[in-house]
């Protein structure tokens, strides 16, 4: 027994809620991954995602003015993190080695050669994740925002509140370090595989 009048009263609110759920849930995995890198542990990442969604829900009526919803969600999350975990964030930045401009350049050819012996997709994914986890936090964030989440440099600079040049340098250093780590894993792994095969051949 829905009357036309009732529908116009109920629908916009319900439609708005449904729309909020749809666009925010779409980014849940990404936002959790981002929160996990920021906080460094699962409990705090849960809290941070929940707080970010709560804030996003409250400010949802401004959505018309938000042109980039995903970047907006990431910015909310990062700002909440800075406010809530300020003390810890400072500790992180103190231990961070920001000025290491002379990391030796890693040739992409070496890492591709090392990769060519490794075909299993599951293992590959694990290796990339392990290498990411080994990156210093700021470099990991830059790579996450660019290569996993697909933001452009300007969006990353806004989310992380840092200059464009810093984004470029962190991204370049992060990718360079990933090459080195992966090359080492894969070179080591293929040595082990060869050894394993050799043992089997003997046995």
């Amino acid at each position: 027994m829905e009357s036309g009048a009732l529908l116009t009263l109920v629908r916009p609110e319900e439609a708005r809620k449904a729309e909020f759920e749809e666009i925010t849930l779409k980014y849940l995995d990404s936002l959790y991954g981002f929160s996990l890198v920021l906080t460094g542990n699962s409990d705090d990442a849960h809290d941070l995602v929940q707080d970010a969604y709560l804030r996003a829900y409250r400010f949802y009526h401004r959505y018309e003015q938000i042109t980039n919803y995903k970047a907006w969600l990431f910015t909310i999350t990062k700002n909440l993190f800075i406010n809530r975990y300020h003390q810890r964030a400072r500790e992180v930045s103190l231990t961070e080695l920001e000025v290491v401009e002379d990391d030796p350049y890693e040739s992409p050819k070496d890492v591709l050669v090392a990769a060519s012996g490794r075909h299993e997709k599951g293992v590959f994914r694990q290796d990339f994740q392990r290498a990411m986890d080994a990156l210093p936090e700021k470099l990991r964030l830059a790579v996450l925002l660019k290569d996993v989440e697909g933001f452009d440099y300007k969006e990353i600079a806004e989310i992380m509140s840092c200059p464009l040049g810093t984004v470029m340098s962190r991204l370049s250093r992060g990718r360079n370090l990933l090459k080195k780590l992966l090359k080492d894993y894969w070179a080591g792994a293929s040595r082990q595989t060869r050894l394993h095969h050799a043992e089997h051949a003997v046995a």
């Binding site: 909020f20 849940l28 991954g33 699962s42 409250r58 350049y105």
Partner: protein, 81 residues
């Protein structure tokens, strides 16, 4: 023609589509003319493709969905000043 070290510094921005039209054109011109930069550029591109293919967002644990659902069921306007 630009020197190779200048081109190598902008390889990633070029791959990321972040160079303006003029710089992009200059980089492209150099890559066409310089085999050693081109080789590195193509390898950088292949590495980034590999990285992006395997480094996708991991699914959030179900407990995160539960926490987010609790946000939606709450009357958020009542505690907003």
């Amino acid at each position: 023609m630009d020197d190779c070290s200048a081109i190598r510094k902008v390889m990633h921005p070029h791959l990321d589509g972040e160079l303006d039209a003029k710089d992009s054109m200059r980089t492209q011109t150099h890559l066409t003319a310089c085999p050693s930069c081109r080789e590195i550029f193509l390898a950088e591109k292949e590495f980034l493709d590999l990285l992006r293919k395997h480094l996708t967002p991991s699914p959030a644990p179900p407990s995160v969905r539960v926490r987010v659902a609790s946000v939606r069921s709450r009357d958020v306007r009542s505690d907003h000043p």
